[in-house]
Amino acid sequence: MSTFLVEPPPHQERMHFMDALEDAGIDYAREPEGYFVYLRDGQQAVLEQICRKFHAEIVEENPAVIVDF
Protein backbone atom coordinates (compact mmCIF):
# COMPACT_ATOMS: atom_id res chain seq x y z
CA MET A 1 0.00 0.00 0.00
CA SER A 2 1.41 3.39 -1.00
CA THR A 3 0.50 6.87 0.10
CA PHE A 4 0.68 9.84 -2.24
CA LEU A 5 0.32 13.52 -1.53
CA VAL A 6 -1.65 15.21 -4.30
CA GLU A 7 -1.76 18.96 -4.75
CA PRO A 8 -5.38 20.10 -5.07
CA PRO A 9 -6.69 20.67 -8.58
CA PRO A 10 -8.28 24.02 -9.56
CA HIS A 11 -11.17 24.95 -7.26
CA GLN A 12 -13.92 24.17 -9.75
CA GLU A 13 -12.61 20.63 -10.26
CA ARG A 14 -12.18 19.59 -6.64
CA MET A 15 -15.64 18.11 -6.13
CA HIS A 16 -15.34 16.08 -9.33
CA PHE A 17 -11.81 15.02 -8.37
CA MET A 18 -13.05 13.66 -5.02
CA ASP A 19 -16.04 12.01 -6.72
CA ALA A 20 -13.69 10.29 -9.17
CA LEU A 21 -11.52 8.96 -6.34
CA GLU A 22 -14.62 7.61 -4.58
CA ASP A 23 -15.97 6.07 -7.77
CA ALA A 24 -12.64 4.31 -8.27
CA GLY A 25 -12.67 2.98 -4.70
CA ILE A 26 -9.56 4.96 -3.80
CA ASP A 27 -9.25 6.06 -0.17
CA TYR A 28 -8.16 9.62 0.49
CA ALA A 29 -8.15 12.29 3.15
CA ARG A 30 -8.31 16.04 2.56
CA GLU A 31 -5.82 17.77 4.81
CA PRO A 32 -4.40 21.32 4.75
CA GLU A 33 -1.33 20.07 2.87
CA GLY A 34 -3.40 18.55 0.07
CA TYR A 35 -5.03 15.20 -0.58
CA PHE A 36 -3.42 12.18 1.06
CA VAL A 37 -4.29 9.28 -1.23
CA TYR A 38 -3.96 5.72 0.02
CA LEU A 39 -3.57 3.21 -2.77
CA ARG A 40 -4.06 -0.52 -2.83
CA ASP A 41 -2.35 -2.74 -5.39
CA GLY A 42 -3.23 -1.86 -8.95
CA GLN A 43 -4.69 1.58 -8.24
CA GLN A 44 -1.73 3.77 -9.16
CA ALA A 45 -2.53 3.95 -12.86
CA VAL A 46 -6.12 4.92 -12.05
CA LEU A 47 -4.91 7.67 -9.72
CA GLU A 48 -2.58 9.02 -12.38
CA GLN A 49 -5.42 9.03 -14.87
CA ILE A 50 -7.72 10.90 -12.46
CA CYS A 51 -4.99 13.43 -11.68
CA ARG A 52 -4.44 14.08 -15.39
CA LYS A 53 -8.15 14.49 -16.02
CA PHE A 54 -8.65 17.02 -13.21
CA HIS A 55 -5.31 18.81 -13.42
CA ALA A 56 -4.09 17.63 -10.04
CA GLU A 57 -0.44 16.91 -9.40
CA ILE A 58 1.13 14.10 -7.40
CA VAL A 59 3.82 15.90 -5.44
CA GLU A 60 5.15 13.26 -3.08
CA GLU A 61 5.16 9.51 -2.56
CA ASN A 62 4.97 8.20 0.97
CA PRO A 63 5.02 11.66 2.56
CA ALA A 64 5.89 12.05 6.21
CA VAL A 65 2.67 12.34 8.19
CA ILE A 66 2.88 14.45 11.32
CA VAL A 67 0.42 13.30 13.93
CA ASP A 68 -0.48 16.15 16.25
CA PHE A 69 -1.40 14.96 19.73
Binding site: P8, H11, Q12, R14, M15, M18, Y28, A29, R30, E31, P32
Partner: protein, 233 residues
Protein backbone atom coordinates in the same frame (compact mmCIF):
# COMPACT_ATOMS: atom_id res chain seq x y z
CA UNK B 1 -26.24 12.19 34.29
CA UNK B 2 -26.12 15.33 32.16
CA UNK B 3 -29.48 16.42 30.78
CA UNK B 4 -29.07 17.21 27.08
CA UNK B 5 -32.65 17.40 25.83
CA UNK B 6 -34.66 20.52 25.12
CA UNK B 7 -38.42 20.92 24.73
CA UNK B 8 -40.53 23.79 23.50
CA UNK B 9 -43.15 24.49 26.16
CA UNK B 10 -44.80 27.49 24.53
CA UNK B 11 -44.31 30.40 22.19
CA UNK B 12 -45.43 34.00 21.71
CA UNK B 13 -45.91 35.92 18.51
CA UNK B 14 -44.53 39.41 18.96
CA UNK B 15 -45.68 40.93 15.69
CA UNK B 16 -43.72 42.45 12.80
CA UNK B 17 -40.14 43.57 13.34
CA UNK B 18 -39.09 46.97 12.01
CA UNK B 19 -36.87 46.63 8.96
CA UNK B 20 -37.62 42.93 8.56
CA UNK B 21 -40.26 41.06 6.61
CA UNK B 22 -40.77 38.38 9.24
CA UNK B 23 -42.44 38.47 12.61
CA UNK B 24 -40.91 38.03 15.99
CA UNK B 25 -41.62 34.71 17.73
CA UNK B 26 -40.25 33.94 21.17
CA UNK B 27 -39.88 30.24 21.95
CA UNK B 28 -40.20 29.21 25.59
CA UNK B 29 -38.15 26.08 26.15
CA UNK B 30 -37.01 23.96 29.05
CA UNK B 31 -33.59 25.61 28.54
CA UNK B 32 -34.75 29.21 28.37
CA UNK B 33 -36.10 31.60 25.76
CA UNK B 34 -35.04 31.54 22.12
CA UNK B 35 -35.66 34.50 19.84
CA UNK B 36 -36.70 33.77 16.27
CA UNK B 37 -37.97 35.55 13.19
CA UNK B 38 -40.67 33.73 11.23
CA UNK B 39 -41.38 34.32 7.54
CA UNK B 40 -44.82 32.83 7.12
CA UNK B 41 -46.04 31.21 3.93
CA UNK B 42 -49.79 30.45 4.09
CA UNK B 43 -50.76 26.76 4.01
CA UNK B 44 -47.15 25.69 3.59
CA UNK B 45 -45.77 22.40 4.86
CA UNK B 46 -42.19 23.29 3.88
CA UNK B 47 -39.77 25.48 5.77
CA UNK B 48 -36.13 26.46 5.98
CA UNK B 49 -34.54 26.87 9.38
CA UNK B 50 -31.64 29.34 9.29
CA UNK B 51 -29.63 28.52 12.41
CA UNK B 52 -27.86 31.49 13.96
CA UNK B 53 -29.06 33.89 11.25
CA UNK B 54 -31.05 36.11 13.63
CA UNK B 55 -28.54 38.14 15.61
CA UNK B 56 -28.12 40.90 18.11
CA UNK B 57 -26.82 44.00 16.35
CA UNK B 58 -26.39 47.21 18.31
CA UNK B 59 -29.52 47.83 20.35
CA UNK B 60 -31.67 45.51 18.27
CA UNK B 61 -31.70 42.33 16.26
CA UNK B 62 -30.94 41.87 12.58
CA UNK B 63 -31.20 39.00 10.14
CA UNK B 64 -28.20 37.91 8.10
CA UNK B 65 -28.35 39.36 4.56
CA UNK B 66 -28.22 35.93 2.92
CA UNK B 67 -31.06 34.53 5.04
CA UNK B 68 -33.15 37.67 4.61
CA UNK B 69 -32.81 37.75 0.83
CA UNK B 70 -33.47 34.07 0.26
CA UNK B 71 -36.26 33.83 2.85
CA UNK B 72 -38.18 36.66 1.14
CA UNK B 73 -37.93 34.90 -2.22
CA UNK B 74 -38.93 31.55 -0.75
CA UNK B 75 -42.13 32.98 0.72
CA UNK B 76 -43.21 33.78 -2.82
CA UNK B 77 -42.71 30.08 -3.62
CA UNK B 78 -44.82 29.05 -0.64
CA UNK B 79 -41.90 28.13 1.61
CA UNK B 80 -41.65 29.53 5.13
CA UNK B 81 -38.42 30.39 6.94
CA UNK B 82 -37.46 30.51 10.58
CA UNK B 83 -34.37 32.54 11.48
CA UNK B 84 -33.08 31.54 14.87
CA UNK B 85 -30.89 33.34 17.40
CA UNK B 86 -28.88 31.20 19.79
CA UNK B 87 -29.16 31.72 23.50
CA UNK B 88 -25.37 31.55 23.75
CA UNK B 89 -23.17 32.02 20.72
CA UNK B 90 -20.33 29.59 19.99
CA UNK B 91 -21.48 26.98 22.53
CA UNK B 92 -21.88 24.04 20.18
CA UNK B 93 -23.99 21.86 22.50
CA UNK B 94 -26.34 24.68 23.44
CA UNK B 95 -26.66 25.85 19.83
CA UNK B 96 -27.53 22.30 18.73
CA UNK B 97 -30.28 22.26 21.38
CA UNK B 98 -31.58 25.64 20.24
CA UNK B 99 -31.76 24.46 16.65
CA UNK B 100 -33.52 21.27 17.76
CA UNK B 101 -36.06 23.49 19.52
CA UNK B 102 -36.54 25.43 16.30
CA UNK B 103 -37.19 22.20 14.42
CA UNK B 104 -39.69 21.07 17.08
CA UNK B 105 -41.46 24.41 16.87
CA UNK B 106 -41.79 24.13 13.09
CA UNK B 107 -43.01 20.55 13.36
CA UNK B 108 -45.58 21.72 15.91
CA UNK B 109 -46.83 24.32 13.43
CA UNK B 110 -47.41 21.54 10.91
CA UNK B 111 -44.30 21.79 8.75
CA UNK B 112 -43.46 18.35 7.41
CA UNK B 113 -40.37 19.13 5.34
CA UNK B 114 -37.55 21.22 6.76
CA UNK B 115 -34.15 22.17 5.36
CA UNK B 116 -31.46 23.39 7.74
CA UNK B 117 -29.04 26.13 6.71
CA UNK B 118 -26.01 27.20 8.75
CA UNK B 119 -23.14 29.57 8.05
CA UNK B 120 -19.63 29.21 9.52
CA UNK B 121 -19.94 27.82 13.09
CA UNK B 122 -23.60 27.11 12.35
CA UNK B 123 -22.58 24.76 9.54
CA UNK B 124 -21.41 22.36 12.23
CA UNK B 125 -24.61 22.98 14.19
CA UNK B 126 -26.95 22.06 11.34
CA UNK B 127 -24.86 19.02 10.39
CA UNK B 128 -25.15 17.82 14.00
CA UNK B 129 -28.90 18.41 14.20
CA UNK B 130 -29.90 16.96 10.82
CA UNK B 131 -29.96 13.27 11.82
CA UNK B 132 -32.22 14.00 14.80
CA UNK B 133 -35.51 14.52 12.96
CA UNK B 134 -37.21 12.78 10.06
CA UNK B 135 -38.76 16.10 9.04
CA UNK B 136 -35.31 17.39 8.05
CA UNK B 137 -34.90 16.61 4.36
CA UNK B 138 -31.69 18.42 3.42
CA UNK B 139 -28.79 20.46 4.83
CA UNK B 140 -26.83 23.48 3.62
CA UNK B 141 -23.52 24.43 5.25
CA UNK B 142 -22.05 27.76 4.11
CA UNK B 143 -18.34 28.40 4.76
CA UNK B 144 -18.55 25.79 7.48
CA UNK B 145 -16.04 24.99 10.16
CA UNK B 146 -14.96 21.38 10.52
CA UNK B 147 -15.07 21.21 14.31
CA UNK B 148 -18.37 19.55 15.15
CA UNK B 149 -19.00 18.58 11.51
CA UNK B 150 -17.26 15.20 11.51
CA UNK B 151 -20.57 13.41 12.02
CA UNK B 152 -21.67 14.54 8.55
CA UNK B 153 -21.96 10.98 7.23
CA UNK B 154 -24.94 10.53 9.58
CA UNK B 155 -27.09 13.00 7.67
CA UNK B 156 -27.33 10.43 4.84
CA UNK B 157 -29.60 9.99 2.87
CA UNK B 158 -30.44 13.66 3.08
CA UNK B 159 -28.79 15.81 0.38
CA UNK B 160 -25.97 18.09 1.51
CA UNK B 161 -24.85 21.34 -0.11
CA UNK B 162 -21.53 22.86 0.90
CA UNK B 163 -20.54 26.35 -0.30
CA UNK B 164 -17.23 28.07 0.40
CA UNK B 165 -15.33 31.10 -0.90
CA UNK B 166 -11.74 30.99 -2.12
CA UNK B 167 -10.90 34.24 -0.30
CA UNK B 168 -12.18 33.09 3.08
CA UNK B 169 -9.64 34.40 5.58
CA UNK B 170 -11.32 32.83 8.61
CA UNK B 171 -11.89 29.28 7.43
CA UNK B 172 -10.00 28.09 4.39
CA UNK B 173 -12.15 26.47 1.73
CA UNK B 174 -10.35 23.21 2.40
CA UNK B 175 -12.70 22.94 5.42
CA UNK B 176 -15.69 22.37 3.13
CA UNK B 177 -13.64 20.01 0.98
CA UNK B 178 -12.80 18.01 4.09
CA UNK B 179 -16.46 17.88 5.14
CA UNK B 180 -17.32 16.83 1.58
CA UNK B 181 -14.78 14.01 1.83
CA UNK B 182 -16.43 12.77 5.04
CA UNK B 183 -19.99 13.00 3.71
CA UNK B 184 -21.95 10.36 1.85
CA UNK B 185 -23.87 11.02 -1.34
CA UNK B 186 -25.96 12.88 -2.34
CA UNK B 187 -23.61 15.80 -1.75
CA UNK B 188 -22.51 18.91 -3.63
CA UNK B 189 -19.60 21.29 -3.16
CA UNK B 190 -19.66 24.75 -4.69
CA UNK B 191 -16.51 26.85 -4.39
CA UNK B 192 -17.05 30.52 -5.17
CA UNK B 193 -13.98 32.23 -6.58
CA UNK B 194 -13.23 35.53 -4.87
CA UNK B 195 -15.79 35.17 -2.09
CA UNK B 196 -14.80 35.89 1.51
CA UNK B 197 -16.17 34.21 4.63
CA UNK B 198 -19.44 36.13 4.31
CA UNK B 199 -19.82 35.00 0.67
CA UNK B 200 -21.61 38.27 -0.11
CA UNK B 201 -19.18 39.28 -2.88
CA UNK B 202 -20.73 36.50 -4.94
CA UNK B 203 -24.34 37.13 -3.92
CA UNK B 204 -25.45 37.21 -7.56
CA UNK B 205 -24.45 33.55 -7.83
CA UNK B 206 -25.07 32.49 -4.25
CA UNK B 207 -28.65 33.69 -3.79
CA UNK B 208 -30.06 32.00 -6.93
CA UNK B 209 -28.06 28.87 -6.11
CA UNK B 210 -29.61 28.68 -2.63
CA UNK B 211 -33.07 29.55 -3.88
CA UNK B 212 -33.07 26.86 -6.56
CA UNK B 213 -31.44 24.22 -4.38
CA UNK B 214 -33.84 24.82 -1.48
CA UNK B 215 -36.99 24.85 -3.61
CA UNK B 216 -35.85 21.69 -5.36
CA UNK B 217 -35.22 19.85 -2.10
CA UNK B 218 -38.49 21.07 -0.59
CA UNK B 219 -40.49 20.04 -3.63
CA UNK B 220 -43.73 18.70 -2.21
CA UNK B 221 -43.72 15.89 -4.75
CA UNK B 222 -40.51 14.43 -3.35
CA UNK B 223 -40.57 11.84 -0.62
CA UNK B 224 -39.07 12.53 2.78
CA UNK B 225 -35.81 10.62 3.22
CA UNK B 226 -37.39 8.82 6.14
CA UNK B 227 -40.25 7.61 3.96
CA UNK B 228 -38.06 6.11 1.27
CA UNK B 229 -34.89 5.04 3.06
CA UNK B 230 -33.92 3.63 6.40
CA UNK B 231 -32.43 6.62 8.23
CA UNK B 232 -30.49 4.34 10.53
CA UNK B 233 -28.55 2.77 7.65
Amino acid sequence: MVETSISVIGYEFGGPVKGEHGEDVLLHTTRGEISTLLYQAPNSESAVLWAGSWRVEGQGQRSSPIARAVAQDLVRDGIASLLLRYRQNAQLGACIQDTQAGVSFLEGLGFKRIVLVGHSFSGAVVISVAPLSRAIVAVVALASQTIGANSVAHIHPRPLLLVHGTNDQRLNCYCSEQIYSWARRPKELVILEGASHGLWERKDDLLPLLHHWLTDKLDANSLNPGESTNLDS
